[in-house]
Structure formats: C-alpha cells, structure tokens
Symmetry: C2
Subunit: 193 residues, 2 copies
C-alpha cells in the first residue's frame, strides 16, 4: 500500500502491480453448482481453478476505492458455466463498477427482495451494479478467460454466506451450445428463509 | 437514472448511454494557463473546446459510484498543453480511479500540504488517485484525444475554487517538442495562503 498516487498496466489480464492474488478452485464452491452429481464427478477428477482475483490493497474505509482484476476461466460443471461464488456487500448500500477487458460472460445479480437482473459482459463495456445488488460473474465463452476490472467502495466488505445459503435466483446454463438464463430450482425465495 | 443494473459501451470515447454532457472551453479557464498573453491571444481567435465529460447520473451519496468518460482534446496555449480545470474533492477524504482508454497524457496531482505527483496516462493503464489529492488531466499528444474512464465516490463533490485561487504546483509544458514537468511560478504554497 502507498499513499502516493500510482499507476499500473494490465498484461494478459494480470496487473503489473498488485498486493493480493486470490485463487478459487472447485472445492470452495460446494453446493453452488446446480448439478451436484456433475460437481462431484468434476471434483473427483481434480480441484480445478475456476477464477482468480488480483487486488490492490487500500484501507478498507469509506472514501477509498478497492480495485483489481477478476479472471474467470472457461469451463463447465455439467452444463453450468464456470462462475464466481458471488456475494452481497456486507455494507449493503454500496455499488460496484466493472469494466470488461476480455472474453464474454454475464453478471447475474439480485436484491435481498428477490429482484433479479442479468447483464452481458463484453470487452469495452461498463457495468454498473447499484447498491443492494448481489453479483456473480459467469464465463460463457468456451475457451477464453473473462477478464474484468472492478472498483468498489473501501467499506463495502463481502457477505458470501447469504448466497451460499440461498443461491442465486437465476442460473446460466449452456443449452444447444448457447448460454441460457434459467430459474434455479434450489433458490430459496425471501419469504421461505 | 435507474435503480436496476445497466451496461454501456464506449464508441470513440463516447458512452452509448449517458445523462450529462459537459463541455469546457478556453473562456472558463481564465487565469489557469501560465502564459496570460498566449491565453488572451488564443481566446481572441475563438473560444475553443478544451475538454468534455460524459456523466452517468447516480445519487450523490456515499456508497454510490459516480462514473463517466473524460475527453481532453489536443492543443496548446503558448507551450502549455490543453488540460482540465482540476479540482480537489469537496469531501477531501475520497479517492478516484481512472482507466485510460486512448491517447497520452499526464495526471498532475497535489495535496493540501503541497506534496505533488505527476503520473503518465496511456491506454490500458489504471491510475489511483488516493483521498486528499487534487487532480488535473493534461493531454500531451499533438493530435489525439486523451480519453479516460473515471470512477469516484457518490459523496465526493468538487472543490474547483482552491485550484482556481492557488494553481497547481507543477505545470506540464511542451519543450523541444516533448512534455516537461516544471514549477509553476504563480503557485501559492500553503504557508502563503
């Protein structure tokens, strides 16, 4: 961390300067993919890398902006695309901005009240996730990484537990070779929680 | 403004969706360029467009992220490059993130205590402006627009008056055809204010 301004480049999705490199493999996503049999079979073959995050460290307080790069690798668990765990911000009233650098994908989002939205990610596109919206990146390409640059308020924090318990309302599955947005049969509506 | 997530593309520096388009011409920069004679002569020729900002509208509260595109056009006033007014955030303890999309330039920055920094802007580079640092974009190209995507906290606000009164400590001038960072003879140090 430094209190002077700084710049960095991004080379093949990797920042030329970063503080943390987080990796998430299949095993941390237990219960998150819809097809449990396919998940168990995939895990038996190996604990594959699903996604990586490169973070620049800043004080985790309001006024600062946490930022970095997310890379979701291509792949399928059954017919469900590789994706991030997804989360609400612990400080729910905080937004996030994404700028897509490479690949193709979708951001799956929902509010605590059960409103949902899915937006496409393509290189050169900006996505605004307003306050209150949980968000998960899904890589819908067969062979390219989905690379995004993200910015969110320093005090946002992460709430992974809610999504781990309830899932997202919508799934993105490959059907007839194309991504389709479908209801998640395991989703627990707010009234059922 | 909408409370649902949204995406937009950026075509030749212009967002495919925006709420405000701000234009700044020579006449709003009175007293900001070092060479007053060159400024007066340029203004006599016409009130040229220096820079433009495309903003997406969001509530101006903490937790939201204001974002948009800044375009600084190429040009000189005497031997000083076209640049933005530059400002502190009214809420001083707020940061800003820039992602450079096109062109070449420099961000001139300083704190209320008189610390200064100048960082280069190039396509594909991220710049982090920590809380407390005033910032001004300077286009150092002879013929290309400097295009940046910016993100800052919703409650940051703008303080233009301090810079209008004191200037930035450093100027970026064209010398021997190249940008050079020089002391601003008109800058008023904190102790002199």
């Amino acid at each position: 961390m430094q209190d002077y301004p700084y710049t960095f480049g991004i080379s093949e999705g990797i920042p030329t300067h970063y503080d943390n490199h987080i990796t998430r493999t299949l095993s941390v996503m237990a219960g998150q993919f819809a097809d449990q049999g396919a998940y168990d079979a995939a895990l038996a073959e190996g604990d594959e890398l699903l996604y990586e995050v490169y973070e620049l460290k800043r004080p985790e307080v309001a006024g600062e902006l946490l930022h970095g790069i997310s890379i979701v690798h291509p792949g399928l668990v059954g017919d469900e695309y590789f994706m991030t765990k997804g989360h609400f911000h612990a400080e729910l009233e905080t937004a996030e901005v994404y700028y897509c650098l490479a690949g193709e994908g979708m951001m799956v989002m929902e509010t605590p009240e059960g409103d949902w939205a899915v937006e496409e990610l393509r290189p050169g596109r900006v996505l605004y996730v307003p306050p209150r919206w949980a968000h998960r990146s899904v890589n819908t390409s067969r062979n390219q990484d989905l690379v995004t640059f993200f910015v969110y308020p320093g005090d946002a924090g992460h709430d992974y537990g809610t999504i781990e318990a309830q899932g997202f309302r919508k799934l993105v599955l490959q059907k007839d070779g194309r991504p389709q947005i479908l209801d998640n049969p395991h989703w627990r509506a707010p009234a059922e929680r």
